[in-house]
């Protein structure tokens, strides 16, 4: 049941009405209902794994209480370690076990040792990477004294399984539970903002991402036969596909949350306007990167502090490999992590790593030449990373990059038909322009409802909404899923 489907619309209409009408005055009942709806939503996607979600929720609930009530720090610490081990173990078993068996088996065979190891037939539960990170952060934050363990199992289970975020994030932190404890009032401004954000997310997913995918899939399936220019164009399209797909999903999730009176953490901050790779990772999949920064990078950086900048680089590379591996069990993701980790090296040595540069614009609102150059350079470096992510193997990634670097890079790229390119390029341009103009906001359609807009400006806004809606219908493809579901 993806957000851009009729079943989800029907599901959400029912949830919305029950939540805000019969249950309006009863916060507890609202939470129970949200939990039931979330389990229904998850079960609709993968009912066989619903018990896993429920059992792991209950286990972590009691672990949280156990840590909170532990009489000594040692016991609390052991319970925390148990929680982290369970969470990581869950991920390891479902996501990485076969990868490690296969990799070690190959490694031993390459040095002449024959193993008789077999991989298992393991089905990856949908959303496992997202809900396990929520569970792990819960025990860690209790142990760090940042939050108190919740006594309410419904609140905790709703936080873990909250349906807008369960399949593809954002990865909310346990502070989200505080919102569930508070009474919720329907807020017109917040709800309208949620609707606008959903609309923007839909546009990015349906119009930009799904249409870019047509060209990308075609080129990647025949990459050995394509010219350098076609390969370059395909990876540029893929970069927009990936961004529009994932940030579109996040926008829709956040919008749905707003309609229910709940704030979901922001996941993207216009990453393609980043001035360097560090800046890029502060803007891309922010809920994951802040999670990994807090729980992986910071402790590692502390451990390696006596090695100075080398220690920091090591911590960054490990951190980026974790980010890469989180996406999937494949050597391409490890390479992706190492690649991005290495991109940080000049930033660490130049001191630009921690510096948060502000984008500077000229009189007509465009970036100044230096910043534009930095943005393009960052985008180019990120593109190489996306080749690695999109490839099925490290070898394919290498062949792809190699295929780009020859004289055919200056030839005319493959043309599907004229009716294909124009709308795709226009939709990417619209996305970038609107995001550039509104880069100070959470999403381009964010408006201050209390501010009285002149009639003409209101009219322009409504015309843009209508054009977006019409384009969503005109470009919709059936059965398109979200890329990040696979993670």
């Amino acid at each position: 049941m993806v957000f851009n489907s009729i079943p989800f619309v029907l599901f959400f209409v029912v949830v919305f009405f029950v939540y805000w009408f019969p249950l309006k005055k009863n916060t507890k009942a609202q939470n129970v209902f949200l939990l039931v709806a979330s389990y229904f939503f998850y079960g609709y996607a993968d009912w066989k794994m619903l018990p896993l979600l429920m059992v792991s929720t209950i286990v972590f609930y009691f672990l949280g209480i156990g840590i909170g009530r532990a009489k000594t720090e040692r016991v609390a610490s052991w319970l925390k370690v148990l929680g982290v081990a369970l969470g990581v173990g869950l991920l390891f078993y479902f996501k990485y076990l076969n990868f490690f068996i296969d990799s070690f088996s190959r490694l031993f065979e390459s040095i002449g040792l024959h193993t008789n190891w077999h991989t298992f037939n393991i089905v990856l539960p949908v959303g496992v990477s997202f809900f396990t990170f929520r569970l792990i952060s819960y025990v860690l934050e209790i142990d760090h004294g940042e939050i108190e363990p919740t006594q309410d199992v419904v609140d905790f289970a709703t936080y873990v399984a909250f349906f807008p975020c369960i399949l593809s994030g954002p990865i909310d932190r346990p502070k989200f539970i505080d919102q569930l404890k508070q009474k919720r009032e329907f807020n017109y401004n917040q709800a309208v903002d949620g609707m606008r954000q959903i609309l923007w997310g839909l546009f990015k997913k349906v119009v930009v991402a799904d249409n870019c995918a047509i060209f990308v899939d075609k080129v990647f399936s025949t990459y050995t036969e394509q010219s350098g220019s076609t390969l370059l164009l395909a990876i540029i399209f893929y970069s927009f596909q990936l961004y529009a797909d994932f940030s579109g999903y996040s926008d829709m999730a956040i919008g749905v949350g707003k309609l229910l009176g709940l704030r979901i953490t922001r996941n993207f901050n216009y990453p393609y306007f980043a001035l360097n790779v560090a800046d890029f990772w502060r803007r891309w999949h922010m809920s994951l990167t802040t999670w990994v920064t807090d729980y992986v990078f910071t402790p590692l950086n502390f451990q390696f502090r006596r090695w100075g900048k080398v220690g920091m680089i090591l911590a960054i590379i490990i951190n980026m490999v974790v980010v890469g591996l989180w996406h999937g069990a494949n050597w391409t993701y490890v390479l992706f992590g190492i690649y991005h980790g290495l991109l940080f090296v000049p930033l660490v040595f130049s001191g630009a790593f921690m510096k948060k540069d502000q984008l500077r614009t000229n009189r007509i609102g465009l970036p100044v030449l230096r910043d534009l150059g930095c943005m393009l350079l960052t985008f180019g470096l990120v593109l190489i990373g996306w080749v690695i992510v999109r490839s099925e193997s490290v070898g394919q990634a290498w062949e792809y990059v190699y295929g780009m670097c020859n004289a055919s890079l200056f030839s005319v790229p493959l043309l599907i038909n004229r009716l294909y390119y124009l709308p795709v390029v226009i939709s990417i341009a619209i996305m970038l322009i609107l995001e550039w103009i509104n880069r100070g906001k959470e999403h381009p359609f964010e408006l201050n409802e209390d501010q009285q807009l002149p009639f003409f400006r209101k009219l322009i806004y409504w015309l843009i909404y209508y054009l977006i809606i019409i384009s969503i219908i005109a470009f919709a493809k059936s059965n398109q899923t979200f890329i990040y579901f696979q993670f």
Binding site: I6, W20, F186, Y188, A191, V192, M195, L199, L419, P423, W462, Y465, Y466, I469, I470, I473, A474, F475, A476, S478
Partner: protein, 332 residues
């Protein structure tokens, strides 16, 4: 909350307007009632399964059909006048074809018809496509809920979305305004040069213009010959297509034939790609319907060596169908 609902209504305004425009126009003829689904000025391809079912519903009381040709678009080659040489002259025939229809979809048609009338004679035309488990996508091939358990709402939403798909909609508007077919519209609108004929009594489609062109010697140009002749796999055997669900449907189909004492024949047509039906599937059909009633022409056969036996890579001509019927009905 009222203010929010007003906002939502205003936001959905273009969707409502588009829906009204679509409903009024009903370009695919799936909303309103039509006595006659095909008109001379048609330029949009209709969902054949829907037309077959609705035309039958509209006319079976008038004509009292009792003999049926079931199949996908491959069955268009079979005509009532030729079939009548092998079944009683008094039979009233109906061509119930479902474009891209699988054997399960044909079962839907048989069940639908058997609830309303007699099934004295049935000629069921299958091919590798109708036994394949891969589904044809698109509104032309979506099986209407009247024939198959499926979501009526989704069926209509698919048509609505297909109408506003940018490339289709632009072609539609262009043709409506200029009444001119241009090559860009190929695959979206009906090319008037190749429009099929139609018999409103028995719901038969006829390769009329194609036959005329063949007679004139203009039909088989180099491109068409290339398309027909490419993609032949004489060594290939199709993957098994009759799964448990289909086994059940086929058995139920046989039960209907038995209950109605139907004189039936099952034909697996000569696909030009030469792919042979999976032996397990064939054996299952033999077991259920009886070997003397199932005729397999898949794989290498005498028609595939001459492209003149085919209109295109997926459709054989009536001359082939006539030969097949002769073989089928000569066996006692």
């Amino acid at each position: 909350m009222k203010r929010f609902f007003k906002f939502c209504l205003l936001l959905c305004l273009p969707v409502f307007l588009m829906a009204i425009f679509y409903i009024v126009l009903d370009p695919f003829k799936v909303i309103w009632h039509y006595d006659l689904y095909y008109q001379s000025d048609d330029f949009i391809q209709l969902n054949r399964g829907f037309v077959s079912a609705m035309h039958y519903a509209n006319h079976h009381e008038e004509y009292h059909y009792d003999s049926y040709i079931f199949g996908n678009s491959g069955s268009i080659a079979y005509h009532e006048e030729d079939w009548k040489k092998y079944i009683p002259e008094t039979s009233v025939c109906y061509h119930f074809d479902v474009f891209g229809g699988s054997v399960g979809d044909l079962y839907g048609g048989i069940k639908y018809v058997s609830r309303q009338g007699d099934l004295k004679n049935v000629l069921m035309i299958l091919d590798i496509g109708s036994l394949s488990t891969s589904e044809n996508k698109g509104i032309l091939f979506s099986v209407p809920p009247i024939l198959k358990k499926s979501n009526l709402f989704k069926f209509h939403i698919d048509f609505f979305m297909a109408f506003y798909k940018i490339d289709f909609f632009l072609s539609y508007i262009d043709y409506r305004m200029n009444q001119q077919f241009n090559p860009d519209m190929e695959g979206r609108l009906i090319n008037p040069n190749w429009k099929l004929g139609y018999n409103p009594i028995n719901n038969e489609l006829i390769w009329e213009k194609q036959e005329e062109s063949i007679e004139k010697g203009t039909y088989y140009d180099a491109n068409r010959i290339r398309i027909i002749e490419q993609g032949q796999f004489p060594e290939k055997v199709a993957k098994p297509g009759i799964n448990k669900e289909r086994m059940d449907m086929i058995r139920k189909m046989k039960a209907i034939f038995d209950a109605q004492m139907t004189n039936y024949r099952i034909v697996i047509g000569p696909s030009h790609n030469q792919v042979r039906i999976n032996p397990d599937d064939l054996q299952f059909l033999y077991d259920v319907f009886g070997q003397e009633y199932v005729f397999d022409f898949s794989g290498i056969n005498r028609w595939i060596f001459d492209y003149h036996n085919y209109y295109d890579a997926g459709h054989y001509r009536s001359c082939v169908a006539n030969e097949i019927m002769q073989i089928v009905y000569s066996k006692k």
